[in-house]
Amino acid sequence: MSAPIIQTRELTRRFGDFTAVDRLTIAVEPGSIFAFLGANGSGKSTTIRMLIGLLRPTAGEIQVDGIDVIRHPRRVRDRIGYMGQKVSLYQGLSLRENVEFYAGLYGLAGDALERRWHELRERFALGDVEREKVEDLPAGIRQRAGLALSTLHRPRVLFLDEPTAGVDVRSRALFWERIQEEAENGVTVFVTTHFLEEVDFCDWVSFIDAGRLIANSPPEELRRQHSAGYRIAIEAPAGVREAVVRRLGEAGIVTAPRDGRLEARVPALDARVLDALGRLAREHADATVHVEQPAMTDVFRDVLAANGAAS
């Protein structure tokens, strides 16, 4: 296990008597997508602002890519990219002019800029709109452009604060594809969101409520701990049902008849389960298998209930 690229210890931020973030301790693996979830006002944005050096914590420690952000907030800026809740493009300028502006701030110019922008323009499908004024672009494209700009200088860590807020479902899906590409290229992505279904794009989930960390694990682990598990429904001719029950039973999956089908619950879709279902499909082509994933909404409802949460 490599050293965390983002690490906080007992991170706390108070505004007067109100504690926005309360002794938050997290560690983010390099190259992972880290989802930081919570309801509105739970402390997500306050945390991200502290992590990028825009807000001084009341107490605690922050390390980003080996740099003490509290003591040296400026040193980390070359290494991070940031995209806030509002897409930070200058209105009145074209997308290309925005690119040149931000590139200039990172010392990117000439051929290096052209090569980098050409690559991003293709990946983010922005070629047709780069001469358009920013205010004329649809929200989804603006969002993609914002992400492209935040990666222009090849940051090692990308902080995204609710990047998909206000974007339609299709654009959100495209957006997450790009985020995953960044992670595949070795960029660590720290993303806040309140779209719970987006958690499945991520490697790790931390969930805060009223500034306190109440869940901190991979999404599958959360499902395992806070749901009744995956529901597997098998429709099979009466003649093969017994064989199906036996085959799945060998893998430790207990089935029961329900509404004319066989049903089973498993805590996770681990290798054992997938292997059993694969063999079942090969051996009984006339059997149909439906797998229903526990909804993250229900998972988090359970997390909140288990922690006596404020939200």
């Binding site: 825009l54 001084r56 940031y82 806030g84 509002k86 930070s88 990172y106």
Partner: protein
């Protein structure tokens, strides 16, 4: 029209207004402050005008003349040893008028009874402030005439005193140069502050300012990136205003044009820094504009742009000194009308530099503030 609906609308408006402390403060402080300022502080009367006196005679009669001139509180006399010192004080704006009493004043006054001409005292006044200069001249003439009568009654053989007046600078007592030179101060203070006041707050609302703060750009770079382009634009504005004032109004600076442009450009930076400070400390563009408007009221009343500072009560005169505009307008008029150079304007230049330092530092801090 539904009275119930209207009542609902009125209730909401009143609630919203009264719950905003800034608005409530404005609603109370602005009318009261303006009333007091216009009624009490601001006056075009001649009061406590600094009067330079060169008493070359040093006789009881000449001292009596000086005492009479200062008795009514219209003039505050300051004795000067030489005519050159008086000229320097007039150029620097330290005094508004000067009285020069000749060495044979008392002898000649007594000789009037023998049919000799009355002694002449010379009154020199700063004609830059035309209305005030006119009033001052009138007062001096009447006070000296009254003094002549008093002396005649008190001293056997005494006689009249003749007054020779001369306006230094702006001898035609034209009011336009005074207003033109002052207008530079008003425009550069109000417009620069207004333009910059919305800049950061708008960027903050748009999210671009936060984005900027996360880039390697330093606070100083962001700050200079904001004020230098506007500074250049306003410096060009100053040049344009000078040309229009010259060609259209016939008012050209009597002093050094490069010096005026240099000081004006520097003052633009001071005003821009103030605007940035307003902007960085406001939550909305509307709040930033309100602050600018609020600032512009004392700017008009207390900077000397419209009303002479010397007529204000002492405590208010002290307050006027904390407005950078007061010092710039003083400098602007001195260069434009009295051809003053840097040496005679050192005190005001010093204050401008101090204000620049403070405001630029505060504006910079407000940009880099990590709450």
């Amino acid at each position: 029209m539904s009275w119930r609906r209207l009542r609902t609308l009125l209730q909401r408006e009143v609630r919203a207004t009264l719950r905003d402390p800034f608005t409530v403060t404005m609603l109370i402080a602005v009318p009261l402050g303006t009333l007091l300022a216009f009624g009490f502080v601001l006056s075009t009367e001649v009061k406590h005008l600094p009067l330079a006196v060169l008493d070359a005679d040093g006789s009881p009669a000449s001292r009596r003349l000086v005492a009479d001139l200062t008795a009514k509180g219209i003039f505050d006399a300051r004795l000067f040893p030489t005519r050159a010192a008086i000229d320097r004080a007039l150029v620097a704006g330290d005094v508004s008028a000067a009285l020069i009493i000749p060495p044979d004043f008392d002898r000649r006054r007594r000789a009037v009874a023998n049919g000799e001409p009355a002694p002449e005292v010379q009154v020199i006044y700063d004609g830059a402030e035309a209305v005030l200069a006119g009033n001052a001249e009138g007062f001096l003439r009447s006070l000296i005439a009254a003094n002549g009568v008093t002396l005649t009654e008190d001293v056997h053989g005494g006689g009249r005193v003749a007054v020779v007046t001369r306006a230094l600078f702006n001898p035609r007592l034209d009011g336009v140069p005074y207003m033109v030179a002052g207008t530079f101060g008003f425009v550069l203070s109000f417009l620069t502050t207004l333009i910059t006041a919305v800049s950061i707050v708008n960027e903050r609302i748009a999210g671009t300012f936060e984005q900027l703060q996360v880039t390697p750009a330093t606070s100083v770079e962001i700050f200079l990136g904001k004020i230098l382009p506007l500074g250049v634009v306003f410096a060009l504005d100053v040049g344009l205003m000078m040309l229009v004032a010259g060609f259209v109004l016939g008012v050209w600076p009597q002093g050094s044009v490069p010096f005026f442009l240099l000081v004006s450009s520097f003052y633009v930076l001071v005003s821009l820094a103030l605007g940035l400070l307003f902007s960085a400390t406001s939550a909305t563009a509307a709040e930033a504009v309100q602050k600018t408007v609020l600032f512009s009221i004392p700017l008009v009343q207390l900077s000397g742009f419209a009303f002479p500072i010397r007529n204000m009560p002492a405590i208010v005169r002290w307050i006027t000194e904390v407005f950078p505009a007061t010092h710039y307008i003083r400098i602007s008029r001195a260069i434009y009308i009295r051809a003053a150079g840097p040496v005679s304007l050192l005190p005001d230049l010093f204050f401008l530099v101090v204000f620049a330092g403070i405001l630029l530092w505060l504006a910079l801090r407000s940009i880099e503030a990590r709450a």
